[in-house]
């Protein structure tokens, strides 16, 4: 069978995706698991690129790999996970876990299998020509056909953001904090006071030795 280049790329990324997804749950080190999850996203983005959805593919890398997973990694690195304790009860829960997994597999097959997404229900996507712009098409769809759901999603996100901030906000605490504007507005007159000092000796001294002496005298006066 002759493999086209696209098929080769597809199978390459799919294999990578499946293997890295498997490693996410198999690796013992949680940081490694997160890194495999990142690899998962990158492989998915490669698959989306094959569908000529270049905007979605790069946005996936930008949002999930570039921001979400960084914060994820942040949290995971702070955790101190005891692997032995977590393995406790593995065999006891295995039958239940298998049951859930198999049920999930059937539901998934029913949902995204042939009866909903088969070739009879949806025809295979045709190749777009070179002038096709994924961003333009996506924008048109979002701001015309799906305008209300799109705005609704934005409002929900806003509500979630307000909720998250109000959860962490613990009222105004009295604490010492800097007011940067105040610091910037400071002038010389606020900080520095120039005091006119009378010289102890009346005559003007020119040589360095007597200068030093007069300095010492000034110091003494200040001490007083």
């Amino acid at each position: 069978m002759e493999l086209t280049f696209q098929q080769l790329v597809f199978y390459g990324f799919s294999t990578l995706l499946l293997l890295s997804a498997l490693m996410v749950i198999l690796s013992r080190n949680s940081v490694k698991a997160v890194m495999f999850l990142v690899l998962c996203f990158v492989a998915t983005s490669g698959l989306w690129m094959l569908l000529q959805a270049e905007f979605l593919a790069v946005a996936l890398v930008l949002v999930y790999v570039g921001a979400v997973m960084v914060l994820f990694l942040f949290v995971v690195m702070m955790l101190d996970i005891d692997i032995a304790a977590r393995r406790h009860g593995f065999t006891k829960l295995l039958p239940l876990a298998l049951l859930v997994a198999i049920a999930f597999l059937f539901i998934l097959h029913w949902l995204v299998g042939d009866n909903h997404f088969g070739l009879e229900q949806m025809e295979a996507p045709s190749d777009h020509d070179a002038s096709y712009s994924n961003i333009r098409e996506l924008g048109k769809m979002l701001y015309t056909d799906y305008f209300y759901p799109f705005e609704l999603a934005a409002v929900i996100l806003l509500v979630a953001m307000v909720a998250a901030i109000s959860l962490t906000f613990r009222g105004k605490r009295s604490r010492k904090s800097q007011d940067i504007d105040k610091q910037v507005r400071v002038t010389k007159a606020d900080r520095l006071r120039v005091i006119k000092m009378e010289s102890s000796s009346s005559s003007q001294q020119t040589d360095s030795k007597s200068d030093e002496e007069s300095n010492e005298n000034k110091d003494k006066e200040q001490d007083k």
């Binding site: 280049f5 080190n29 940081v31 490694k32 890194m35 990142v38 270049e54 905007f55 593919a57 790069v58 946005a59 890398v61 930008l62 790999v65 570039g66 921001a67 960084v70 914060l71 990694l73 942040f74 690195m77 712009s133 994924n134 961003i135 940067i180």
Partner: protein
């Protein structure tokens, strides 16, 4: 089969044509940095190796390459070695979409702008992994600082690029440049001036350069995330940092200063007289100006304190960009704007 192979070899050749000059440029940026900062501080800078110190970068490379790579005994070895690779990979990959002249670009993709943002944000994995795998508290602190800094400034940077996008009507870097053609007055730095300032400063913060070099703040955390690295592994971090600096300078030139467009465009006689100069020269000249600015910043400003960095990113830059995007949208919509909306 042979067709793929030919195409693959052709692409690899082009990559080589971009990377070799880039690595040479990195080598001489390190030299320029030491010289420029030296003269700014009334010193000579490197002047021993070769005439006027011209061979200093090669001496540095040979020294680093012949050193032993020390693997700390407590380190997670595969991750420790993965760190520098993850850092340098994206910083080189970003160069794929940079247009050096009208037709001179490796990958002319529609989502070029967002691809660049993605690449600059992936680089932070190298730092985090390096800091974590070193199993050293200084390295870990540096990694944490870097992660939060990059994520914060990326938001402001993304918003400035939204402004560029609104003016150019395209995410393709080549289109962004051609939209600016006409004369110097058509370059985006005039309508987008606040965004230019924010983009450039965010760029300095994203590349972890002074005065935002908290991740490697030697006064408190020794050398930050790369404290445990030696030899070639350290050289990779160094190379990637300077490649990122050149990238940010090039991007500033492309987004706001017309990329490879000649500054004499639209001036009657001067334009015809200088039309033989290739666009690449103008791009590199503009980029060199901003690169010099980065060195100048380093010689001038002391390092920020951490809370000051966070305040600047979240409380100053992000609100300013959002306001400017709204202003820009109003201008374009009400047709007061010279750009077609």
């Amino acid at each position: 089969m042979l067709e793929w192979f030919n195409e693959l070899m052709w692409i690899l050749l082009k990559i080589g044509f971009i990377l070799l000059p880039l690595i040479l440029a990195v080598a001489y940026t390190t030299y320029a940095e030491r010289k420029v900062i030296g003269y700014m501080q009334l010193r000579m800078g490197p002047n021993r190796v070769g005439p006027k110190g011209w061979l200093q970068p090669f001496a540095d490379v040979i020294k680093l390459a012949t050193k032993e790579i020390v693997l700390p005994s407590g380190a997670n070895k595969p991750m420790f070695l993965l760190g520098p690779i993850l850092f340098i990979g994206p910083s080189l990959a970003a160069w794929a979409v940079i247009p050096f002249d009208a037709e001179l670009v490796l990958a002319d993709i529609n989502a070029g702008l967002i691809y660049l943002l993605a690449m600059t944000s992936i680089g932070v994995y190298g730092i985090i992994i390096a800091g974590w795998a070193s199993n050293s508290k200084y390295a870990f602190l540096g990694a944490m600082r870097s992660a939060s800094q990059v994520v914060s400034y990326e938001i402001a940077m993304g918003f400035t690029l939204v402004g560029v996008l609104m003016c150019a009507n395209s995410m393709n870097l080549g289109d962004i440049i051609t939209q600016q053609s006409g004369s110097v007055l058509d370059w985006f730095f005039i309508p987008l001036f606040p965004l230019l300032v924010i983009f450039w400063i965010s760029g300095v913060a994203e590349t972890n350069r002074a005065p935002f070099d908290l991740p490697e703040g030697e006064s408190e955390i020794v050398a930050g995330f790369h404290v445990e690295y030696a030899g070639t592994a350290f050289a990779l971090f160094f190379l990637a940092e300077y490649a990122n600096m050149i990238l940010v300078s090039c991007l500033t030139a492309i987004m706001f200063f017309g990329g490879w467009l000649s500054p004499f465009q639209g001036i009657p006689y001067l334009d015809a007289m200088t039309s033989w100069i290739p666009g690449t020269f103008w791009l590199l000249l503009k980029a060199a100006f901003f690169l010099f600015g980065l060195l100048w910043l380093r010689a001038t400003f002391p390092r920020f304190r951490y809370d000051q960095i966070m305040r600047l990113g979240w409380k100053v830059f992000i609100p300013v960009t959002i306001v400017w995007i709204v202003v820009l949208a109003a201008w374009i919509k009400l047709q007061w704007w010279p750009f077609n909306g």
